[in-house]
């Protein structure tokens, strides 16, 4: 069963009198398989958020249809197993972190000890236990993003729709969210992720789709799309210069070319996280 399926999904927005219509999404046929992490990529205005809104029935399609677990998106029951984190989420600023999760849990039919236990689990999961009784008006952007993730997970949904989940989050928080997505995938959850951060998408997604001006211009398995079958990288350690020369000679003798020989670099993110790990005061958030 597909977690999400769309057929010729089209959305035109009315721009007002004498201004015509804007084609935000053009006959999108998309399929997100159950259990995979799917990355929806594209520049601003490409139709990513419109797609998510159509799937959640927040807006009506001009043409085409969409289904969640084979249930038409126009039906409320289609959202029974869906968790959604909007881009730059704002929540009720007068509620505390725990009250916020309680509110969303009750909306999902949860109550009593079960809800209380779930709130504790999620506050612990997103690292907001110490800020549980603080009103959201005192939360940082990263903390709001984390409480947003927690509310999306409150009813343990099978499908998660995350719109720019790491927007405004520092590298530590960003890595935490990435790790969480991978853990959710390990638990068999399906994730549809919309993001601008290509490196992050590459790390967590099984498949990606690239939208531009409302149309899908590229789609496929991430590993297949980014691998170059004609080139090969062999990483060795402590290779003497003489041995290196013999390796290069052997490569040429086999009819291949040596395109580059360089010392591998770490990523700035790994360097940053390593530096924080080595800091004796520990690594963490000022919650």
């Amino acid at each position: 069963m597909d977690a999400i399926r769309t057929e010729h999904l089209t959305k035109k927005y009315h721009l007002g009198w004498r201004k015509g219509k804007l084609l935000a999404l053009d006959k999108l046929s998309l399929c997100v398989r159950e259990g995979e992490v799917y990355g929806l990529l594209g520049p601003n205005g490409s139709g990513k958020s419109t797609t998510l809104k159509l799937v959640l029935d927040l807006i009506a399609p001009t043409e085409g249809s969409a289904w969640i677990f084979d249930v038409p998106c126009s039906k409320v029951v289609s959202r029974l197993h869906v968790g959604f984190l909007p881009e730059n989420p704002y929540f009720y600023r007068y509620l505390t972190g725990a009250e916020t999760l309680g509110f969303y849990g009750k909306l999902c039919g949860m109550s009593g000890a079960r809800l209380k236990k779930r709130i504790e689990e999620l506050l612990d999961l997103v690292g907001l236990n110490r800020a549980r009784d603080r009103r959201l008006s005192g939360y940082s952007k990263g903390m709001l993003q984390r409480i947003g993730l927690a509310q999306a997970l409150i009813h343990d949904p099978k499908l998660l729709l995350l719109d720019e989940p790491t927007a405004g989050v520092d590298p530590i928080g960003s890595k935490d969210i990435r790790d969480l997505i991978l853990r959710l995938k390990g638990m068999g959850k399906t994730v549809l992720l919309s993001s601008h951060l290509l490196a992050q998408v590459q790390d967590v997604c099984d498949r990606i789709g690239v939208l531009n001006l409302g149309q899908m211009i590229l789609e496929g398995d991430v590993k297949t799309l980014i691998s170059d079958q004609r080139r090969l990288t062999i990483t060795v350690q402590d290779l003497p210069d003489a041995a290196r020369a013999r390796v290069e000679e052997a490569v040429r003798a086999a009819g291949a070319s040596v395109l580059s020989v360089e010392h591998p670099r770490t990523t700035l993110e790994l360097l940053f996280l390593d530096a924080l790990k080595k800091d004796e005061r520990g690594m963490g958030h000022h919650d």
Partner: protein, 299 residues
Amino acid sequence: MTETAVATTPVSRERVGFSLHRVGVIAVNTLTEAVRQKVFNFFLIIGLVFIGSASFFAQFSFGEQLKFIKDTCLGVISVISTLIAIVGTAQLLPSEVENRTIYTILAKPVRRFEFLLGKFFGSLFLLVLSITAMCILFGAVLWIKEQGMIRELSQTYLGQTPAAQKDVEQQIQQVRTEALDADLVKAVLSDLAKATLVASITLLVSTFSTSLVFNVVVPFMVFVAGMLRGSAAEMWGGHTVLMELLAVVPDFGLFSIADEINLGNVVPWAHISGIVMYGLARTVIIVIAAHLIFSRREI
């Protein structure tokens, strides 16, 4: 983030019918929001200050003091409840859309009608709460005044002739009757029905407008037009188009029974029931219209 395992709490229900529970959850949240906001507190405090100080301004003859207090307090309750109905409801939907909190709610298995009804009931809870608070203070002010007047009359009782004492007893009885006037409940009920209707009109306007100013001004104008409906009918009796336009506006003049009660005229319960039913029927129609618009609205 810590290493706690992701919980696997199953959601047992596979059918999503209309749920009064979800309506209640949204209503309570709406009430909490309103109570923790300064605008509502501002109006309520203004109302309470006016009611609380009513007895200090009652510089009238002995018999008119209670009448003045009742007049002032009922007027304040009427004005403040109308203001809270408009201001408290006008920002409910626009703020949800502007802050995108509506996305997180409607992304859950929540019907739009449940959301709309929850917001409206939250607004009504707020009205009931504020009217109750004002009524409690109103009752306290009346009781304090009544006790003061009785004490004052009692002091003149001793040393009087039997005929004069009987007269004082009659005056004390009159003070008690005026202070504990059950008809005041009728006036408050009428105010609540009026404020509910005003809130529903504001809700209707806010389903298609995102401007807070528009959402406040339009219901206020409808309310004023409804108050003047009776006079306008006399003025424009010949203009059919104007009269048909006016017929759409609820007749808010019907709810003004405080003067009658304060003049000592009997307002029968049947009349109050009629007024409340009139308000409720129109409220239901307007909320259904609001639902029809909101269910098609793109968010």
